[in-house]
């Protein structure tokens, strides 16, 4: 905020001169820094190689075969069951895969915006001072700390049609509420989304609060004095300032929803029918029930490629490495 001033005045920034000098000296001195850089990144590179590249290659290999544990062959001999692009053709023709993908996207387009808006709303409220703020702040983060599996069991119990949620609704409405949260296909996905919103809004809140705290107060006041109302301030000042952080927060949630499993599986196991079968549950079922592992390998790669494109777009919004402000 203050660093914008003076930066264009070379004389005012002796540090920049020193920085260049030091860098030049170090680089000229045999590239010790580059070597250190390589060493520093080595563990991460090795880990990626070890548990990302190898499995990915194996996955790619399997996806072109028709190997399953049922074939009675070791995976190394999977080439004997070469299937070409068969699995991929199957993936593209598989209603269930696309259905699961569609439901996952449905959760993405409903739950993520809700989490975002709730998180943003809460974060906005937390920009003000009010009594009990610190305690409330801690409480708001609690859902993140609950193991998703146990959250799943609790939501399962809460959403029973004669369970506490309906009890609460009955008490409020004065009527006997018996909503079939988990057995009505349309409501089951709502229940699953509610659980996801409960668990992950806190992270959204936390990230957005960090973003809002970084918005310069002076610029907000300046905008107010220039006649901007709350919404205009938000739209013209806050939003552009926290755009990057919003993209990151949304990207994190979108990515993680593609992995949504524990809570959902415990609540509905993807049911009733396939009403809440998301891509992860689909993979789990195919993998454990159908044992079509090479198919899962292919479908997983398709999802990965799709998500990579999304991630590439998201990354375009991120600050470029090395470029400041």
């Amino acid at each position: 905020m203050t660093d914008t001033t003076g930066r264009t005045l070379p004389a005012a920034d002796p540090a920049a001169v020193a920085r260049t000098a030091v860098r030049d000296a170090k680089d000229a001195g045999g590239g010790t820094s580059t070597r250190l850089g390589t060493w520093l990144t080595l563990p991460a590179q090795l880990l990626i190689l070890f548990v990302a590249v190898f499995p990915l290659l194996m996955q790619l290999y399997l996806s072109f075969t028709d190997w399953t544990p049922l074939s009675g062959r070791n995976w190394t001999e999977a080439y004997t069951l070469w299937a070409g692009t068969w699995n991929y053709e199957d993936v593209f023709a598989d209603d269930r895969f696309w259905g699961a993908l569609g439901r996952t996207l449905l959760i993405v387009v409903v739950a993520v915006p809700v989490e975002f808006l709730l998180g943003l709303g809460l974060a906005t409220l937390f920009m003000d001072e009010f009594p009990g703020k610190r305690v409330l702040y801690s409480i708001m983060l609690v859902p993140m700390m609950i193991v998703p599996a146990v959250a799943g069991y609790m939501f399962y119990l809460l959403f029973q049609s004669d369970g506490p949620i309906n009890g609460l609704l009955s008490a409020i409405s004065g009527q006997d509420v018996a909503i079939r949260w988990l057995t009505d296909p349309d409501l089951a996905i709502v229940a699953v989304m509610i659980a996801d919103i409960w668990q992950w809004t806190p992270l959204m809140f936390l990230i957005l609060l960090a973003g809002l705290l970084g918005v310069p107060q002076d610029q907000l006041k300046a905008a107010t004095l220039l006649g901007a109302g709350p919404w205009q301030r938000f739209r013209t000042i806050v939003l552009p300032k926290i755009k990057t952080i919003i993209v990151i927060a949304l990207a994190i949630r979108v990515i993680e929803i593609f992995k949504i499993f524990d809570t959902l599986f415990i609540m509905t196991a993807g049911g009733p029918g396939v009403a809440t079968e998301t891509i992860s549950v689909f993979f789990y079922k195919i993998m454990t029930l159908e044992l079509a592992w090479s198919y899962v390998a292919a479908a997983g790669l398709v999802v990965l490629v799709g998500l990579s494109v999304v991630a590439g777009v998201a990354m375009a919004f991120l600050p470029k490495p090395g470029k400041r402000a």
Partner: protein, 353 residues
Amino acid sequence: MTSIHLSQIVKRFGDFTALQEMDLRIHDGEFIALLGPSGCGKSTTMNIIAGMEDPSEGRVMFGDRDVTALPMQKRGVGFVFQNYAIFTHMTVRENLAYGPRMHGAPRAEIERRVVEMADFLDLGAILDRPSAGLSVNILQRLAIGRSAIMEPAIFLLDEPLSNVDAAFRAVMRRELKSLQQRFEQTMVYVTHDQLEAMTMADRIAVMDHGVLQQVGTPLEVYNAPANLFVAQFLGAPGMNLLPGMLDGDGIVLEGGGRIALDDREVRTARRATGRDVVYGFRPEEARMGEDGVTRPVSFVERIGARTILHMEGGIKAVFENDVAVAEGRPVTLSPNPGAARIFDAGTGARLEG
């Protein structure tokens, strides 16, 4: 253009009183500087004028209008922040256009006003540059222009030069003053730098510890400080202040020595509530002589055009040309006739005859 009247303003933050019964009138088209050390309440005063803070007591009047309860966006004040608060994610043009846009002005009108303002401020060439990374003087002009485009009746500037290199401040000051003269608006300028206040302001309001100490033209507050604080705070270096005791027609100084007073001065000094008074004179209003204050020289500061003597007891003297003194040797200073200001040691107020 509008006058401002702060009427009996009190501002408390919890137990802390930031402003005590502040009463200040600012005239139409006046450039007034709120001057004081940090924490003196000057920024609070400005925020209250702007509407960013509500006074705990008292009223704020713009002309005849009571604006105390008016939210800041409706007060029609222009505000230039310490760091200019330029919207760094926008271009120069977007910054200038922000106010009219928020007020829903038609596109064509916005464009016309922006170009007009840009020409006026010499920003025309860089209208479409991103505002991040502009140099400070351009940022200052942009900040002023962004407010000025709304034609506010009142302009408030919050230490706009505090982040600027010393060498550059003179340029900025000049530019600011000329802008003010062209806009002819009421300007309230907050600063802790007396040089800025002295060079630009029509009047200076000196504040300390939430209390308005004195309001007057730069020369008034310089020449006739209302109290010990103003006397010491203004001037570089500040006024020499020597506590002593009134003794007949002279003052016996605490650090030794006696200063004779003329009749008028004696009359003035007798107004003191007790016999304890403080004798003051400007460092530049003294010469070396026979009578006066005698102290050893602790060191001599020669800065080309002027020579500053630092004497024991914190007494300083400024001479236009070099003087032949040696460090460690006593020197006697004689204040010029009429240079003496006498303060009541008990109340701190300057005594007037």
